[in-house]
Symmetry: C2
Subunit: 352 residues, 2 copies
DNA sequence: TTGAAAGCGGTACCAG
DNA sequence: CTGGTACCGCTTTCAA
């Protein structure tokens, strides 16, 4: 079904059909009606490839994420989608599974599709790619990696601040021996969450931190917890790189007969919905996905050029729930710590 | 950056560059090398719109789902993605949020993009649309709706069987008063899970079932549980349309001070990963997302024409975990039921 | 082994 | 208001 067939059947030119389709230019209403009728009869739907080739424009924006199974990424995707849709844009999603080769392929794909803008919510971005992206003329927003340059905007979260709040909170509760659970991509020397945690640790006397890593999944969290416990049997707190892994950790601890928070405290990061629904609910650090989505759309769609080529820094907030409590000498007296569990009302979170 | 610019810079024709790009036809290796070099220098990436317009082909398949936030849909998406990728296809995803208008728009979008095949994992499909889709010449796979016809394959799950297993299991445990928690789209008169549950109920003497509905989210499950409890205070079991809502239900019960399964039994459906990670772990009915993904790819990509235009029926399996136990007269003696909680080993599930 | 040229299905400009 | 037509960037004969 093509424009031309529609035109012929309606006894008009392709130009006229195009005008009707796009609601531009003057068309006599009887003509319009006739064309519309034919379109309906033929169930014609325009070839979008031809359209964007001819028009040179493309109302679609690309979103690349590291792990679509992690609700953190999905939330951002949804936030972008909502605004994009109401501005008449379509989203094209790509998932990299934290793999650099898939990222490269995804970027090429987006460029090949000539997206109007690109958001890369990934942690595995390398600087060559960033350089290359800057070369194409489309607006790009990075989350968490890179620095502003031509056509490129950056959004980053002040992990330092978040981690410091978290660690100092745990320290105050008496925790001195903790394990950081990350996923592989988060344990590279470049990774900010880990680095920042280690930095924070320096400032607290007699605080020691080990690390454990696995995949960024529930199963990964569970395995990492197992590794953490065997590597560091006297730990009193497990600090997780995100909430998904933390839920996996909770599960493993339950299986080991360890109570949270009485025996071990657990913290997440991101503050996804699930953090409120797991048991016990998770102390976490809130990262505002809605706001990230909003900024992305402002840069990519509304093209606030003042917004482009700059850096946004978001300050995360600590959210206290039921998975953290005073440290206890678990090996000695687990019955020591009987204080922490209060089941709060509907919105259980206390913000700090 | 266009083919022509590359051609000019390499001193060859566009036809030759095209041959190099697609690895077809004879090209002298020195020529090939020269072209490749220019492509690299210019960081040329072909305009995919032009390509599929000219070639008439399109190695991409469309996947439409009702609610991408529900891991059930995401699992299918991922299963399809994996196979599609290894066959050199790209996926285009669209999410309808259970809205018919969004479904229509998504289908038009996919048709407009001239996808090679389309999978519709949605429950809100209407028969006009199915008719229309059959008219386009592309292979289509539906999950859960419609019947086979030209170019159309159907996958459906034998919910009847699954629900009957679930209900008879609960009945055996003594439950006589239960509430079915669904999302709005699952409570229409057409919906199979509900209908089948109500049918099953007929066969069990003195079993009564109420219904409650909310959105297909964790929050929705929680609100539905609240509604269920107030509508039917003496319930002993809550049967949920899926695992996500069941996790929401668990949370609300916990807040109400009701123990699962001692006071109330809860069941999910789908058997997503989270069912193993919530607390208590969820008794559920397994729907094999991997197999669904496999069938979709077989029909859409490998185009096993024998597979097309037929119907696949999957038989779901009951998976027992810790969220179900004997019914107890909760209003009378909650301390009655102290039996059910055994924390099992790594894979906690017992299949029936 | 390579190049010239005819489309693919639209858009948009320019006449009429 | 409407039609003719020159592209958009790439694929694919057909000749050379």
């Amino acid at each position: 079904m093509t424009l031309e067939q529609v035109a012929r059947r309606a006894g008009v030119s392709t130009a006229t059909v195009s005008r009707v389709l796009n609601n531009v230019g003057p068309v006599r209403s009887t003509t319009r009606a006739r064309v519309l009728k034919v379109i309906e009869e033929l169930k014609y739907s325009p070839n979008l490839h031809a359209r964007s080739l001819a028009g040179g424009k493309n109302r679609s924006i690309g979103v690349i994420v590291s792990n679509i199974e992690n609700p953190f990424f999905l939330d951002i995707y949804k936030a972008v989608e909502e605004q994009a849709h109401s501005a008449g844009y379509e989203l094209i999603m790509a998932n990299t599974d934290y793999r650099a080769d898939r990222l490269t392929a995804s970027i090429r794909l987006m460029i090949g599709r000539r997206v109007a803008g690109l958001a890369a919510i990934v942690s595995e971005m390398d600087s060559n790619l960033i350089e290359e992206l800057s070369g194409y003329r489309i607006p790009v927003v990075f989350y968490d990696v890179g620095t502003p340059r031509r056509n490129i905007t950056n959004i980053r979260v002040n992990y330092r601040s978040g981690m410091e709040k978290l660690v100092s909170y745990l320290y105050t509760l008496g925790h001195r021996r903790m394990v950081f659970v990350g996923h592989h991509a988060a344990l590279g020397p470049i990774n900010e969450r880990l680095r920042v945690l280690l930095d924070a640790v320096q400032r607290f006397p007699s605080l020691r931190v080990e690390t454990a890593a696995d995949t960024d999944t529930l199963d990964g969290g569970r395995r990492a917890a197992r590794a953490a416990l065997s590597a560091c049997p006297d730990l009193t707190a497990i600090v997780c790189v995100n909430d998904v892994m933390a839920v996996g950790v909770l599960r493993e601890l339950r299986d080991c007969g360890l109570r949270v928070p009485e025996d071990v405290s657990v913290t997440g990061f991101d503050n996804i919905k699930l953090a409120q629904y797991c048991s016990p609910s998770l102390t976490s650090v809130h990262i505002p996905r809605d706001e990230i989505g909003r900024i992305i759309c402002d840069c990519l769609i509304n093209e606030q050029n003042k917004l482009l080529e700059r850096e946004f820094v978001l300050d995360p907030e600590l959210v206290l729930r039921d998975s953290t409590g005073p440290a206890s000498a678990r090996n000695g007296a687990p019955e020591h710590a009987l204080d922490a569990s209060v089941t709060p009302a509907l919105d259980t979170a206390r913000k700090l």
